[in-house]
């Protein structure tokens, strides 16, 4: 056993910039060394204790005012340092973005959600991250800033693999932007885990837009079934432009479960994940469709 969760057994310099500019300067300065951004630390500090994650500089962004804001005027813009617990309690999130709300609420316990951040959940790039499926389903993007300039990247493209993202060493996520969603839209999130507060065996989010009895557009995203959260595009194609019915939902669910390639691990088995994806998909599409105001025909 090499781990010791009581001690952070490495030396590093702790930096606490008070402005975004200061943080960017530090990132620029140390971009060739190993520097890490500390937001909530609920993943990073655990990794520094339990796996071989070494860092020379730890840059705490928690006290940077520019990263501590929520803007609900057009869609949802969430600063990178906002704790998850604040987001799940916002009226607009509960009302308009229920899949995100449900995703956040399913993360660990309140103590962890009081520390953890949405940007941290994205950057940690766990295939089982509970905010990522809904963020992809909503078409969310992250804003990346460095001394060199700014860019925005879709969350879907930002994460490339287990713990891997397209962020550069001198860049920081300043905010997560979620587009305004149509009033005829509905979304839902679902997760299975061993106990209530746990990492997902499998999770998924569905966001769809209704026009009368037809599903105009949709995104279906599954987590913990691949090296990153993935869209079930064949299932989406089956749903788009169609009159939604029980039999169609069954078909979509079956298609989605065929599209994924999960693995066996300590939390569950590939077989179980495949079986359950179908069941969860049926329920989640049905709930999202109901939230979009749709009725269900047999």
């Amino acid at each position: 056993m090499q781990t010791n969760t009581k001690i952070l057994a490495q030396e590093f310099e702790y930096l606490a910039p008070k402005s975004l500019n200061e943080a960017l300067s530090l990132l620029e300065k140390y971009k060739d060394k190993s520097a890490r951004i500390l937001a909530g630390g609920t993943d990073l500090l655990v990794k520094m204790k339990t796996i071989d994650l070494k860092t020379d500089y730890l840059i705490n962004i928690k006290n940077i005012p520019e990263l501590n804001f929520i803007d609900t005027s057009d869609g949802l813009k969430i600063g990178a340092a906002v704790p998850l617990f604040h987001i799940e309690r916002m009226g607009k999130v509960k009302k308009r973005y229920p899949a995100l709300c449900e995703g956040i609420k399913s993360i660990a316990a309140i103590a962890v959600r009081n520390m953890g951040t949405i940007a941290g959940n994205i950057c940690n790039a766990s295939p089982a991250a509970d905010t990522v499926p809904s963020l992809i389903a909503y078409g969310a993007e992250v804003k990346l800033v460095s001394k060199r300039g700014k860019r925005t990247v879709l969350v879907e493209d930002f994460i490339t693999g287990v713990g891997k993202t397209v962020i550069k060493a001198d860049e920081i996520i300043t905010q997560v932007n979620i587009p305004e969603i149509n009033k005829n839209s509905g979304s839902a999130f679902s997760k299975k885990s061993r106990v209530k507060a746990d990492i997902a065996k499998i999770n998924l989010a569905v966001c769809l837009e209704r026009e009368d009895n037809i599903c105009k557009d949709c995104k279906i995203v599954l987590g913990s079934v691949f090296i990153k959260a993935v869209r079930a595009k064949k299932a989406e194609d089956l749903l788009k432009g169609q009159t939604v019915s029980t039999s169609l939902i069954d078909k979509i669910a079956k298609k989605a479960s065929e599209e994924i390639k999960p693995i066996d691990d300590i939390r569950s088995s590939a077989e179980y994940r495949t079986d359950i994806a179908r069941v969860m998909m049926e329920d989640t599409v049905r709930i999202a469709w109901g939230r979009a105001g749709g009725e269900l025909k047999k």
């Binding site: 056993m1 781990t3 969760t5 106990v195 077989e271 359950i276």
Partner: protein, 584 residues
Amino acid sequence: MQLETKSAVCVPEADGGITVWTTSQGIHNVRILLGNVFNIPLNKVNVKRITLGGSFGSSIQMNSITPICVALALKTKRPVKLVTTREEDIYDHSKYPLKTNLKIGAKKNGTLTAAHCQVQVEIGGHNIQAYPYLGCIAGWFASLYKYKNLKYEGTAIYTNKVPCCAMQGYGNPQINFAVESLMDILAEKLDMDPVELRLKNFVGKGDEFWGQGPTVRSIIRSCGVEEMLIEGAKLAGWKRRIPPFKKTGDIKRGIGVARGFHTSGTGGPNPGEVIDYSGATIKINEDGSVDVVTALMDHGGGTWDAAAKVVAEVLKVPFEKVGIYNGIDTRTTVFDVNTHATRGIYCGCGAIKYVAEKVKEILLSYTATLFKDLPENLELTCNKKLGQAIIYPREIPQNYMTVGEIAEHAHITSWGTISYTATLRQKNCPPCFITHFVEVEVNTKTGEISIPRAVIMGDSGTVINPDLWEGQIIGAFSRGLGFSLLEETKYDLNNGKLECNGMITDYKIPTALDMPKVDNIIVRSAHTYEPTGPFGAKGIGEAALSSVGSAVANAIYNAIGIRFYELPITPEKVLKALKEKSKK
């Protein structure tokens, strides 16, 4: 997994001795072992009693870090403190995984005729208690039912895995799962109600009980098994139970019954192979308050509260006036064996009651001198208005003296302290019984199992701490659900590491949210009195856990008609079994 991780502090003393504060279920064993290991005279080894945050049996043996801490302190001639992490703790000890082959023979009318039980147990890398463990399994097996003819074979197997030690029932839940599952199978084969089959064959009053394997036996004098099965069945709505094939819908509800027990301590009419005695010094202070000086350990189950209540009851002093908690170590106390084998109340408090009665004799003899009367003519009682125990000559209550006044008189006239020191071995090991009626809901689409409701009947004779008793039963139910549905020490076969890496991230135990709602857990006590226990009391701790897994598995069978022969029963296993069943 258990709760508090192990810690130790050792201070080397100028006289060559050591003072040790350590997580332990019994400070005197630690003292004797440290003395032997480091060749220090026992009067120079002082081990302090500290409160435990749960150990579930894992601190019966001296924790491995304790001698390491002492060695470091002796070498450096400085105080040393060691605290293990959760990972080290998970790699330090584990429950005993048990594999059982069991055959039970019965007549058509449900009378059992024979049983053959073969067990194989993994003990990991150290032999902590393999031989006693196999003996105890024999006892847990033999004392459930009257098989008439029985054969038992046990094998312990060394492995290079985590060492196993006593934890949460010392094998009782493991063997109970085999026996109680088979009783359910047998009931179905005989077309009998499982409750009826159990009522017909249980080991009860007047029968011989194996408290700690074949060497520690006594005759059962109190038994609530019948009452618990019958009343529990009524409370649980057992009669409404329908067979699995009559159930419809995706979510199937089932109800299962299982019963178990544990010994209360390891005493017997003849001293067995297990050391079992407790002791105390009890003294009445100069104001009538009482100090109980004992090395008896409390795991958090309320043993100290119970001991204080027993002393208060014997000496008729208010409970608040009995102190038992602070400043205890091996140097100031007589020997007390570990708090294990559900012995705290029956053996520990039994010994304390004996000492308190001796103190009462001295108190009455001193008072008799003051009243110029015989001790047997005096009445000792509690006066709630005065908040004191008082003594008066029988029939003349107005002539009372408070125990405070008597103690003070004994003090200023130099008669001496009203106190007594002794140890006592209980001569019996009465079983405390438990019966679980558990309802489950199995989602046949996802394999998920939830527990909507449970009726739990306990038999501890007189219950001394009713709230804590109920709390222990519900706590054990939670730990039992972990054992039934979640917990397993899996190893990576390529590198021999635990799959969870010793981290609770991947070693899950049930949380409050995974339990039935509080109002849906019904706990009731049987109406029994144990004649050999302190004020009729027996234990509860390990008994409360023994039949949870069996009841859950039996309920799952009643829900979906699938018998699981292995714990834990996970959604993955359930869904796979359901798929295989539908293929047939």
